[in-house]
Structures are given as C-alpha cells and as structure tokens.
C-alpha cells in the first residue's frame, strides 16, 4: 500500500513505496515481538502474535479502527525526544483492554474480578501501555541504532474520538497522515488487539527509513 504522510498545503507530503512500508511493517513486527516477550514475562503465559498490519491513514480516521469515535478505548500517548522526535499512541479497544487487564490482574474463576475496580483497571492498563509502547520503541531503537527517548506516557480511558482529538490538538494538525501498525496478541483463547500509531515529526521519517536501508530519495 502506498500512502502520503504528514502533508499540508505547502508540502504535498511524503509518498512511501511498498518497500518502505515493508520496512516499517518489519520494524512493527519486531516491536510487537518485543512487546509480546514483555507481556509473556508478566503473565507467565505463552503469547502468540499475528503478522502486523501496517497502513497509512489520516489521523481523523484512526477511531474507526477501534469501533468508531464514541467507542470506549484505552489510550497511551507519549512524545519521543532525542536524535529523532515524534509521538506515539497505543490504542486498545475496550474488549481487548478488559482481557489484558484480567490477564495481568489475574483472579479466580467465579470471583469478583479485580479489573471491575475502575482505579485498579486504569492503573493496570496505564502500566501495560507504558511497557508495550516502550517495547516497540526499544525494537525500533535497536533496528535503527537511533536513540528514542520517550517522555512520561499519558493515559486516558474514554471515547476514541476524544483521545484522538486531544492528540490532533497537541500536534496542531487536522489533516496529518499517520503510520498505524496493528497487531493481535493471542493468549490461550483470548485475542488482544493493539494499534500502535506513529507520528514522526517532519524530517524524522526520512532519518528512520534511511537507517532501515530504504531511504527516501
């Protein structure tokens, strides 16, 4: 799939080739693998992974991936500083977020689930979101040899549209295209679907793709 990235009226944006999309998908794959290892160590279970799906889409379309703008989701948002800069967001739709919280918090069959306490639920998801997004960043760092310094992650559990809305405002853009890497984690019979959204600052994608061996001409 081809796509245009970070374009505006003055800058028509960036066309990415199939090879460049493949490189990003592969980086996403290794990142998801890292995240699965982290998750597996926490819950002491084997974690299966789907092939990641990478696509480029307008940020305003992102809520459709998780059930629409009014759908409840857990979102983790953080800035990246260092040699390269940008932002990343991890979105987990509610059903998956519940499964993830149950998995991490444990609890016996038939008992009142600990994840039903909203404070504990949010706290578990905040923590998992930080760990998973950190795992992706570490993988990207290892692959590119670049230093990705994440800032403190921000968390929200609310309407998908409202979370994306705040990110739009933070980035000051309404029509920016973003890279979305979707991955499914499988733990026994449970599927947890995560969407990692990358917002490279202008110029950053060029550096990353150069390091991945598929430079922008």
């Amino acid at each position: 799939m081809k796509g245009r990235l970070m374009g505006d009226a003055k800058d028509p944006g960036q066309e990415l080739s199939e090879m460049q999309m493949d490189a990003l998908r592969e980086a996403g794959n290794i990142g998801a693998g890292n995240a699965a290892i982290a998750l597996s160590q926490m819950v002491e279970e084997r974690i299966g992974l789907s092939m990641p799906r990478a696509s480029i889409m307008p940020l305003s379309k992102v809520p459709d991936l998780v059930g629409g703008p009014e759908a409840p989701v857990a979102g983790i948002y953080l800035r990246i500083e260092g040699e390269v800069s940008g932002s990343i967001m991890l979105l987990i739709e509610e059903q998956s977020a519940r499964s993830l919280a149950d998995l991490v918090l444990g609890g016996e069959e038939g008992e009142k689930k600990r994840s039903e306490d909203i404070v504990i639920y949010n706290s578990a998801l905040q923590e998992m979101g930080s760990i998973l997004s950190g795992a992706y960043l570490n993988a990207l760092g290892l692959l590119t040899g670049l230093l990705f310094k994440p800032t403190i992650p921000f968390y929200a559990n609310d309407m998908a549209g409202a979370i994306v809305d705040c990110v739009l405002v933070d980035l000051g853009a309404s029509e920016d295209f973003v890279i979305v890497i979707g991955t499914d984690f499988h733990v026994s019979s449970v599927k947890i679907e995560g969407h990692l959204i990358l917002f490279p600052d202008p110029g950053t994608l060029k550096i990353i793709l150069g390091k991945l061996g598929v430079p922008i001409e």
Partner: protein, 170 residues
C-alpha cells in the same frame, strides 16, 4: 428520527430544520452551537485551537475559535439570522490525558507541549462570543472526559453524551 449531519474537527456547518448536527468524541476541542430561535436556524462549529493569530485558517476557518465563530455568525446572517437574537451553547474543552499513578489531569505539566489547551479553547470561545455580543445560554465544558454533542438548530436543544456520566440535555 431526523437526519443527521456530522461536523468533524475544524468544520462549521449550518442547518435548517430538521437536520441534527453531530460532533462525535470531543476531547479538548469545543463544539460551539449558535442559533436564532425566531427563525429556527442554527449552526455548529467544531473548533480545535484558541486563536488564529492572523492565520486565516485557509479552507477550514473552524480550526480556530475566533475565525470559526466569526465564520458561523456570518453564515447565519446570510440566511437571515440576526446577531441580537442569537443564542449560544458550548460543550467540550476537557483535559483527557492523565499521568500514570495519578488521578490528576496532565494539564499542570510542562512536558505536555500544549498544556491546558481545553481551558484555553473555552476561554477563546467565550471571548469571541463576547466580541460578537452573543449570549451563552448553556454550557457543559471542562473536566477530563470525552463528549459527543447532538445539536438541533430548530429547537436549540443540545444533547451532550459521555461514557462515564451518561447523557444530558442543555
């Protein structure tokens, strides 16, 4: 069930009975509904940032509070509305993100590049409305949660729905 028209980020739409204008999932953005009850016409602006600071906003004047409201007022006047009769309802402008381990909104942090944007949006909206001498008759703003707004221009009713606090008519 009347027809529904979506008002996306940075959009401004005007409707005549019976279309309901809807903005889904407002976070720090603010939905500004202005209507003239006498001729039952109104519109909704989904503003994203406080001031245009001289930028025209290009094809989307609704991006900024000041240009968005001025544009909406202009469109209503073109359709026969009168500024003196205009009423306004606003919703949105929350601070969604929280830091791990706290229940406080992240607004007080310097490393969040655009801090307190929700509050600044609300303030800019109110200032622009004062400049136009348009009265706010109801508002549902601030806090830390997302909102969906459904505005019926012919009745002036606004329904604000949230996940945690249910629905409310203002």
């Amino acid at each position: 069930m009347s027809e529904i028209e979506k008002v996306g980020v940075a959009e401004v739409k005007v409707s005549e009975n019976p279309t309901t204008l809807v903005s889904y999932g407002l976070g720090s953005c603010v939905a500004v509904a202005i209507y003239d009850p006498n001729i039952k016409i109104g519109g909704l602006a989904h503003v994203m940032l406080p001031e245009s600071a001289g930028r025209a906003g290009g094809a989307s004047p609704g991006k900024f509070a000041d240009t968005g409201i001025s544009y909406l007022v202009g469109e209503l006047i073109k359709r026969g509305a009168h500024v003196k009769r205009m009423r306004c309802k606003i919703a949105g402008g929350s601070q969604m993100f929280k830091l791990p381990g706290t229940t406080h909104a992240a607004s007080s942090l310097e490393n969040m590049p655009r801090t307190q944007i929700g509050e600044r949006n609300i303030e800019a909206v109110k200032q622009t409305l004062r400049d136009h001498s348009i009265k706010i008759v109801a508002e549902e703003t601030g806090g830390d949660h997302g909102r969906t707004v459904r505005f019926n221009p012919s009745t002036g009713e606004m329904e604000v729905s949230t996940i945690a606090h249910g629905k409310k008519m203002i």
